[in-house]
């Protein structure tokens, strides 16, 4: 039968594994920075890696995996705010492309 001490030590082991995964993902971001790809491709790849890193930190370091209600509360509120901020991108592309009405 597993004791409380066993649980604590396995928890520590899990923390270490998650830490190493996050460290490896951070290293992948640095590798992506040296790839010969366009800035937009680089941005997308780095963003995906960053989201995975943040999800690991949220679920395991901040223990959101143990509280589904709070997890959904966090995801819905921040997700809504993040989505609401995306309305300006078309104008950003208009600035750089200058079409059809920027001139």
């Amino acid at each position: 039968m597993a004791t409380a001490e066993d649980h604590k030590s396995s928890g520590m082991g899990k923390d270490l594994v998650v830490y190493l995964c996050i460290l490896a993902l951070a290293a992948i971001q640095f590798v992506i920075a040296y790839q010969s790809i366009s800035a937009s491709q680089m941005f997308v790849r780095m963003l995906i890696v960053a989201i995975v890193e943040a999800a690991l930190a949220l679920l395991f370091f901040m223990h959101l995996k143990d509280n589904r209600g709070l997890l959904w509360f966090f995801v819905i509120f921040t997700g809504f705010v993040l989505l609401a901020m995306q309305y300006g991108w078309t104008d950003s592309f208009r600035l750089i492309d200058g079409v059809p009405w920027a001139k």
Binding site: D15, Q29, A33, A50, E53, M62, L70, I96
Partner: protein
């Protein structure tokens, strides 16, 4: 007791149960999270929106500016900063686990080690800033083109540095009070939540602000 009296009594009991359930819904801790911890989560959600706003605004101007500079030639400093900050999250976790085990000395030691890592991160960050300032980049000036670069870089990294500095002060204060018996393991865990959040923000700042502006 008549049938009518029994019916009235049953209704009264039902009404009491309904009132009690309604009171529970209004007063019970949200998502079974203690009030102090919930306050920290609400702060984290609000601060996530703040950083997201900064990064989206930065993305907007970076995308919309044709001659955006790429002034970073080396990733050594930022890689070291990232390693230190990520490792400080692990030391924080170890500290919180020690506190939950009742190992006061261990919890104090690991939390202070986390604070030291935060100080080291801040020192490296300031060194990075000094290098750029030495090359002529300031909040309103950029020798490589658009001044928007200086504004975006210093404001985003500055906001993060402010959070790290606040976190270091909080870690030291909470660790000392925990060691003195005024705070409990829960207080250390709540401060740890903030520290992990600061770490999480850095995961987005590094690729967006540093790595996408690396000179090739």
């Amino acid at each position: 007791m008549s049938q009518a009296d029994l019916s009235i009594q049953a209704h009264s009991i039902q009404a009491q149960v309904a009132r009690s359930e309604a009171t529970d819904v209004m007063t019970a801790p949200a998502f079974s999270v203690p009030a102090k911890k919930m306050a920290m989560w609400l702060f984290i959600i609000a601060d996530t929106a703040t950083f997201a706003g900064c990064l989206v605004a930065y993305g907007f101007i970076r995308n919309g500016t044709p001659d955006w500079p790429r002034p970073f030639h080396s990733i050594t400093n930022v890689a070291l900063m990232t390693f230190i900050l990520l490792t400080s999250s692990l030391t924080m976790l170890i500290g919180v686990r020690a506190a939950q085990r009742g190992d006061k000395a261990g919890a104090f030691r690991w939390t202070m080690l986390t604070a030291v890592a935060g100080i080291l991160f801040a020192a490296l960050h300031i060194r990075e800033w000094m290098g750029l300032i030495g090359e002529g980049a300031t909040l309103f000036h950029n020798p490589w083109g658009t001044p928007l670069f200086g504004s975006a870089f210093f404001s985003i990294t500055g906001l993060h540095l402010l959070h790290v500095t606040g976190g270091v002060i909080a870690l030291i204060a909470v660790a000392i009070r925990y060691n003195g018996g005024r705070y409990k393991a829960d207080d250390l865990e709540i401060t740890g939540l903030y520290w992990h959040f600061v770490d999480m923000v850095w995961m987005f700042v590094v690729p967006m602000v540093y790595l996408l502006n690396l000179a090739h």
